[in-house]
């Protein structure tokens, strides 16, 4: 019972390639799923709408970005712009009277088209220069979104998003929006889990490791980079739409500015490159850390009777957040996903440590 691998013998290929071959994992996943489904009953409405829902949406966006950075090994410093395009397209399409599902897919497709534009940068240069060109494209997109009145309604305008409806059902309650976000996050997670064991996933990894080597074994780097950018842009576009409809309820250009791109990048790095569970952890960490640190510092200051100015209190969480990124890169460059993996590997065979492969 303690040795969780005991008695697991794969007798055919199908069982060997299961997503979760170890029963302990399956039980844990089912328990977590049950918890996720019951969350609106367990937690307060405030917790669900202001912590859990945005977390799930950011998880899906982080997974999309991880696809391009972690799996395909291509930089993307403009992911927020791609999300913004999806969000704006969906809002406009939905306002024009299309069903919500079609509007969201349309948003994803529009983001794909623009995302492939980013890919053309990736086809010419790589490394630092790719990073800089996507960063510059983010600035261009920001400018276009905020300065074209047909998209954003003019500089510093806010576009209200009407309440969404899914399959003809109007969804306005906090728990309803939570379930929509949960469904999307699970869908993306499932896609990513399966991506790892498909030819596409292996081709992406081959391109990441060395593109000439990939070319030698017959993987067209050109094609797979395009596919990677297109897929991750689609995920990003729909996630952007989810972010607006499930969480913000209104869309402004600042929600998709360059600092959001960097925050997403931080989620991927802190979570761990090419780590799915890491993306869940990373999004939670970066999203929740600043407000928690803020609350903690305010509480600690009150406890010792120190008087911290409002300005100091406002900036201190960002110092801690920057410090965390630095610390992670120095101590555990593969992020929280790797930390979890280490712990899991240890517990998997505990107390028979010598049985580890």
């Amino acid at each position: 019972m303690l040795y969780r691998r005991a008695g697991i013998r794969h007798t055919d290929y199908a069982s060997d390639r299961e997503l979760f071959p170890i029963p302990a994992d399956r039980i844990a996943i089912l328990a977590l799923l049950a918890l996720a489904l019951l969350a609106p009953l367990i937690f307060s409405s405030l917790t669900v709408s202001s912590y859990l829902t945005p977390w799930l949406v950011w998880v899906s966006a982080t997974l999309g970005l991880n696809l391009i950075i972690g799996w395909a090994g291509q930089f993307h410093f403009g992911y927020a712009a791609v999300m913004g395009i999806g969000a704006y397209t969906t809002v406009h399409a939905y306002k024009a009277g299309l069903p919500w599902e079609i509007a969201a897919v349309l948003g994803g497709l529009m983001a794909t088209v623009i995302g492939v534009l980013f890919a053309f940068a990736a086809l010419r240069v790589k490394g630092l220069y790719l990073a800089l060109s996507t960063l510059a494209l983010q600035f261009v997109m920001d400018w276009v979104i905020s300065h074209v009145p047909a998209i954003s309604g003019g500089v510093s305008a806010t576009l209200q998003a009407p309440a969404m409806s899914l399959l003809g059902q109007r969804i306005a309650s906090d728990s309803g929006l939570y379930y929509v976000a949960l469904g999307w996050a699970l869908l993306v997670t499932l896609f990513m889990l399966n991506l790892r064991r498909t030819a596409l996933g292996r081709a992406l990894v081959a391109v990441r490791e060395k593109d000439y080597a990939a070319a030698v074994i017959g993987v067209q780097a050109f094609r797979y980079k395009l596919v990677a950018f297109a897929t991750s842009s689609f995920i990003g576009g729909v996630s952007g739409a989810m972010l607006i409809f499930c969480f913000y309820h209104a869309v402004t250009p600042e929600q998709f500015a360059v600092n959001v791109s960097i925050e997403l990048l931080a989620m991927v790095i802190v979570g761990g490159l090419a780590s799915i569970i890491g993306s869940w952890f990373g999004a939670a960490f970066i999203l929740l850390a600043p407000s928690q640190i803020h609350a903690f510092i305010a509480w600690a200051a009150k406890l010792v009777g120190a008087d911290i100015g409002i300005e100091t209190l406002a900036h201190l969480p960002y110092a801690v957040y920057g410090g965390m990124i630095i610390l992670f890169l120095l101590v555990e460059p593969m992020g929280l996903g790797k930390l979890y993996g280490n712990m899991r590997n240890y517990l998997m065979v505990w107390p028979f440590g010598y049985a580890r492969k």
Partner: protein, 295 residues
């Protein structure tokens, strides 16, 4: 749109462009020695300006003493960053290094705001606000001083790279493995380049701070600095100077012409477009080395 107006824009643009070169030179110095694209250079510029203010207002020193002291402090800060954060990342994938410099950027900015406060404050280095008349053209005195300082620092670097220590830095830039093999301390050279870069950043911070006030927006010079650095070639100091002039002129003239047409805010757009076009057409920049990996 008459020609005189455009000429005035171009000349003032060229001078402000030389001030972008100050930021770019910092990026180039570090990239040359260690191939680290320093995205924290904007934050370093901001920190430099705050340190000068701390010496001038906090300790009550006169400006001529505060600036050199701040430069010395910043050299220490730069070497510290290199020692603590970047030396351990040597040889890691570039995504880690880029993320580290971004993390440093966030960290430095936030710490500076925590310590120094976020409200914009003036930094007076005694340049009058009156325009300088050159025939019919109005020149901005602050930009002129900035341009002169940028050119002066460039001249200092040209001489510095002929000294013994400068030759060591050039050797490291050329091939650090070979430098290691002949007994050059690459670590010390890289630390020196960080110190020099922080020194330049302080100069940039003081000059820009005297123009637009000292606050968080100083760190936004990063985009312009990195554009100039890429346009000039990431490893060419002379390129940084010429590209600075070029970007300044393009930015001033293009935004002067486009702003009335497109309703303002085109400066960032023009800079971003220059960056994209440079990377698409000539990724190694005007004077950079050609060994950039591409597909």
């Amino acid at each position: 749109m008459d020609l005189m107006y455009l000429l005035e824009l171009a000349i003032n643009g060229a001078m402000s462009g030389l001030m972008y070169s100050l930021v770019a030179m910092g990026i180039v110095l570090i990239y040359k020695s260690s191939s680290v694209p320093n995205l924290a250079q904007g934050a370093l510029t901001m920190v430099g300006a705050y340190v000068v203010l701390a010496f001038a207002n906090g300790a009550g020193l006169p400006m001529w003493a505060a600036i050199p002291l701040a430069m010395l402090t910043m050299m220490g800060v730069g070497m510290g960053i290199e020692r603590v954060a970047l030396r351990r990342l040597a040889g890691r994938p570039i995504v880690m290094i880029l993320m580290m410099t971004l993390g440093l950027d966030i960290f430095l900015r936030a710490v500076t705001l925590v310590v120094g406060g976020g409200t914009a404050r003036p930094l007076d280095i005694g340049i009058s606000n009156d325009p300088l008349f050159l025939g019919p053209l109005l020149l901005n005195r602050a930009y002129l001083v900035g341009a002169v300082v940028a050119l002066g620092l460039f001249a200092v670097f040209v001489f510095f790279f002929r000294t013994r220590r400068g030759v060591v830095l050039r050797a490291i830039a050329d091939d650090y493995m070979a430098s290691w093999a002949v007994g050059i301390s690459v670590e010390r050279g890289v630390a020196l380049s960080w110190a020099l870069s922080s020194l330049v950043a302080t100069a940039a911070g003081v000059l820009w701070g005297s123009i637009q006030g000292v606050d968080q927006s100083l760190s936004l010079l990063l985009l312009k600095g990195i554009t100039v650095a890429v346009l000039g070639g990431m490893d060419s100091l002379g390129g940084a100077i010429l590209a600075g002039i070029a970007l300044g002129v393009i930015e001033a003239v293009a935004s002067g012409v486009l702003d009335p047409l497109l309703g303002g805010g085109t400066r960032e757009l023009v800079v971003a477009l220059v960056l994209i076009l440079t990377i698409m057409i000539r990724p190694h920049g005007l004077f950079g080395r050609h060994d950039i990996e591409r597909l």
